[in-house]
């Protein structure tokens, strides 16, 4: 029994350490990629080609003065970023990086991810409210509405693939794919990508943080380590969304020659790159337009996708 617990702990530590490292270097990757797309270089100063930049940023944020606004609700103000980060990190628990390498295997894996992600939104609402500032509150409420509605499309776009795979277990989903599901479900894939952009608050749907309108949205008043938590949570969510896309649409670790975990990482980073790429390219939607796209275009399309998938599955 102790052996099992020790092994489980080891796996938890490895996965979380790697996840945190990835999240930290994701910021570096994003800055580099966007930099090169904008004919500049990105961070170059700390270490060779700025490789130590995330560590320097982390240290800076760690030692920064932690400002707590006078008007804020202290306890909630401290609690909200933690909620965000924890909700983002525990999602990694069910992600199968390889056939046998994951912290735990749940038979409701996908549902677990959706449900925990929905709780992560609370952190953002609470942060907006607890800051005691108008801009923060508006940002918080905006992101709440945004994430609630885009979670629906995110979930619905996964139903089509799930019907084909026939399980909520992430491992089973991968194993059910002889051919990557993107071939059967291209519409669901596109909708998933768009909904994912909305869910993790990235351009063109980065309204909660629309700096030209709401300054910095819900984390306007946050500084130091608490700000870093939000930052990490955001990038952790980005990784998770990419990981789910990999598992559900691109057959996870499956692939010739290379070991499974490497395939998984390669596929995941294709999505990460795509999200960064989109951020470098597009302007931002307005709030009402964004909601309209969700409810008037994406919802009908994704429902039609489910119906069509069902009919085809019945006939075949």
């Amino acid at each position: 029994m102790w052996h099992d617990i020790g092994l489980a702990l080891l796996r938890i530590i490895v996965v979380f350490a790697v996840a945190l490292l990835f999240v930290a270097y994701l910021t570096y990757l994003e800055r580099k990629v966007i930099g090169h797309m904008q004919v500049r270089m990105g961070p170059m100063r700390v270490g060779p080609h700025g490789l130590l930049q995330p560590i320097a940023d982390g240290l800076k944020l760690f030692f920064k003065e932690d400002i707590v606004p006078y008007e804020s609700y202290k306890l909630t103000f401290y609690f909200a970023p933690l909620l965000c980060l924890v909700c983002a990190l525990i999602l990694f628990a069910v992600v199968p990086i390889d056939r046998n390498f994951m912290i735990t295997r749940l038979n409701i894996g996908l549902l677990y991810i959706l449900s925990i992600a929905s709780v992560g939104v609370m952190g953002i609402i609470l942060a907006g409210w607890a800051s005691g500032s108008k801009y923060s509150l508006l940002g918080g409420l905006r992101s709440a509405a945004q994430m609630f509605s885009y979670e629906i499309f995110l979930g619905f776009s996964l139903i089509g693939p799930l019907m084909i795979a026939g399980s909520l277990d992430l491992v089973k989903i991968v194993e059910a794919q002889k051919v990557p599901l993107i071939v059967y479900q291209p519409v669901a894939f596109v909708i998933y990508l768009i909904a994912a952009l909305g869910e993790i608050n990235r351009t063109p749907f980065d309204l909660p943080e629309a700096e030209s309108e709401l300054v910095a949205g819900f984390h306007t008043e946050y500084s130091g380590m608490k700000f870093a938590y939000f930052f990490l949570a955001e990038y952790a969510n980005l990784l998770i969304v990419s990981a789910i896309a990999t598992i559900v649409f691109l057959a996870g670790w499956k692939g010739p020659i290379l070991p499974g975990w490497m395939w998984f990482l390669i596929k995941m980073f294709i999505f990460v790159y795509f999200f960064i790429w989109v951020r470098a390219t597009f302007p931002r939607y307005r709030y009402d337009q964004f909601m309209r796209i969700g409810w008037k275009i994406m919802l009908p399309v994704v429902l039609a996708n489910i119906v069509v998938t069902g009919i085809v599955m019945m006939l075949v």
């Binding site: 904008q38 004919v39 500049r40 790429w277 989109v278 390219t281």
Partner: protein
């Protein structure tokens, strides 16, 4: 219609950024490498001495008069050809680098250097007296690249 559904307009944008992802960045790593300003560049001003190590300036006060920011003050001594400045102050914290003083000088006693890094912790550093104005600005300049 088909183009709209396939998001052609968005794909064009994505192609453009993707193209630039593989081109060479145009960044100049500023404190490490610097661009050589053009010869006409209006940097800090210095007071020129001729071959015999004498001031070219004849203290005619034209530069002080023409300066829109009124940052030049000087005092001259001597008469006729012997006239030279004993005090010459330019307050670079006020100077707007318009170049009128250099333009107006009848004996070309003032000239621009290519030194421009005037950001200092100490405001007094920017108040140049006659010694500082004649010093070689090359001392502060680092390597250029262009």
């Amino acid at each position: 219609m088909v183009a709209k559904v396939l998001m052609k307009d968005l794909l064009i944008g994505l192609r453009r950024t993707f193209y630039y992802f593989f081109t060479k960045p145009i960044t100049v790593q500023y404190p490490k490498e610097k661009l050589q300003p053009f010869p006409r560049f209006r940097g800090f001003i210095r007071l020129v001495k001729d071959e015999e190590d004498k001031f070219k300036c004849i203290a005619c006060m034209q530069c002080a008069r023409v300066c829109p920011a009124q940052c030049i003050s000087l005092k001259g001594e001597g008469k006729g050809k012997e006239r030279h400045p004993v005090e010459f102050n330019i307050d670079f914290s006020r100077c707007i680098f318009c170049g009128f003083c250099v333009e107006v000088c009848p004996v070309n006693a003032l000239e621009f250097t290519s030194f421009y890094e005037g950001a200092q912790y100490d405001l007094d550093w920017l108040k140049f007296d006659i010694d500082k104005l004649t010093q070689d600005y090359k001392k502060w300049e680092r390597t250029f690249k262009k």
